[in-house]
């Protein structure tokens, strides 16, 4: 088994596809490999949003905990996708719970580090932000379509 450097890992992730090597190398300075066991909480609603994750393997469920009836899963994030938007926007606080459903490997970016680098170099910030915006757009669009309950029984 070959050991990949963080740089290599990031460049192979679809999120960084087409992003210049210097930018990836710069952002790699904020990153580290992380691992979550099945059912382990990745983050929790209300806690400071201090990380941004690229999922390499496994699956993370984004959950909303309701008072009665337990949590329901509103989205899942799989290998090749990214997890967490709240680190980007004040007050930097998680809105949902995130829990690994299976053994999950990811790259975690320190949010303060990322924000500092983006502030220092707006060009880098723009690259990162447009990538994040693309993902947010995908998720928002999917969430909106799901609002109509496509497969449900419609009655008028």
């Amino acid at each position: 088994m070959t050991v990949r450097t963080l740089d290599e890992t990031l460049r192979e992730h679809p999120f960084f596809e087409g992003v210049g090597e210097e930018v990836v190398a710069l952002l790699a300075g904020c990153a580290r490999n992380v691992h979550f066991r099945p059912d382990e909480l990745v983050f929790q609603e209300g806690q400071p949003a201090d990380f941004f994750y690229l999922i390499k393997e496994g699956r993370v469920a984004i959950q909303l905990h309701e008072v009665a009836g337990g949590a329901s899963i509103i989205d899942t994030v799989d290998a090749g996708e990214v997890l967490g938007f709240s680190w980007l926007v004040p007050p930097y606080r998680w809105v949902f719970d995130a829990r690994a459903t299976v053994d999950t490997r990811a790259v975690g970016f320190d949010a303060v580090c990322l924000r500092t680098k983006c502030d220092a170099d707006p060009a880098v910030g723009y690259v990162l932000l447009s990538r994040v915006a693309r993902t947010m757009h995908e998720r928002l669009e999917a969430a909106r379509v799901r609002l109509v309950d496509l497969y449900g029984t419609r009655t008028r």
Binding site: G70, I73, D78, A142, V145, Y151
Partner: protein, 285 residues
């Protein structure tokens, strides 16, 4: 005076006459969806192509178009998977074993899964849309060696609404079909995916340059899936969709299923996205 084609007159009369089929078995697939297995009362089994539909008649209640969900290779019982949502479908699924239903058809164009031979095949289903795709999958796994990668991307409402779960398992285990299921709403103990089925398209492992895709589900889902497939580089004419309109006669005479110049009961229901795209992006066309 005027020459009127009379050669096909008997054919036309037959197209409007239902054949009697007996209910051999009714299988409950999910809380609201049932599969009826029918045998002809006399005569040969119905020959059909994957993707075709019939008009099912509950005597005295009405007639509805239903896709055939069984094996097109013939011999077995005629299967229809029906969602119990209206007065006719309620009467159909309530027909007891031994009861008789009327069947007209089969009608319309099929999936033509042969077109995908030699390349990758991606089937994308939303909700009850898996039922019309099941004959296509049965045909593909029967001739599995003629296809390269076979993927089934399937979106259901909740885990309880997942259709044909034993089939999904068997296709994955025995026939090297890559099955990805996603639901709109998952309970906390659900280990599978949650999200829109179109989200599975960008990262699914097929080679767009040699892929044929078969898509069935609500029109909104088919449209966004077709766009996602084309964005990945699948040719529009190789993205085949099954359209739903008000099929009544099944032979293009009654006019109800028109989509601009198309009579979907004979020109469709299965058509390429190249043909459908301009017709799908306009409201109430």
């Amino acid at each position: 005076m005027t020459e009127v084609l009379s050669a096909e007159r008997s054919q036309a009369v037959d197209a409007m006459l239902p054949r009697s089929f007996r209910v051999e078995r009714t299988r409950r697939d999910t809380r609201d969806t049932f599969t009826l297995e029918l045998a002809p009362v006399g005569g040969d089994p119905l020959r059909f192509a994957a993707g075709q539909f019939t008009m099912l008649l509950a005597a005295g209640v009405g007639e509805v178009p239903i896709s055939i969900s069984g094996d097109p290779s013939g011999g077995g019982l005629l299967e229809h998977t029906i969602r119990n949502v209206g007065s006719v479908t309620r009467a159909l699924v309530a027909t007891p074993r031994g009861g008789v239903l009327g069947v007209r058809g089969p009608f319309g164009t099929g999936w033509e899964v042969e077109r995908g031979e030699g390349g990758d095949v991606v089937l994308v289903a939303g909700g009850i849309g898996l039922a019309p795709l099941r004959p296509a999958l049965l045909q593909v796994v029967r001739n599995r060696e003629r296809y390269n990668r076979v993927l089934l991307l399937y979106g259901a409402r909740t885990p309880e609404d997942i259709l044909f779960a034993p089939d999904l398992e068997r296709w994955e285990r025995d026939h090297d079909v890559e099955v990805a299921v996603t639901v709109d709403n998952g309970p906390h103990d659900w280990r599978g995916r949650v999200g829109l089925v179109t989200r599975l398209v960008p990262r699914a492992g097929f080679d767009p340059s040699r892929t044929t895709a078969y898509v069935c589900g609500p029109e909104v889902m088919m449209r966004s899936t077709a766009l996602a497939l084309r964005d990945r580089g699948v040719r529009a004419d190789r993205i085949r969709l099954s359209m739903e309109r008000n099929m009544k006669c099944g032979v293009g005479l009654c006019g109800h299923c028109q989509l601009r110049e198309l009579f979907l009961c004979v020109d469709g229901p299965v058509l390429g996205f190249d043909r459908l795209e301009p017709l799908m992006s306009r409201w109430e066309l």
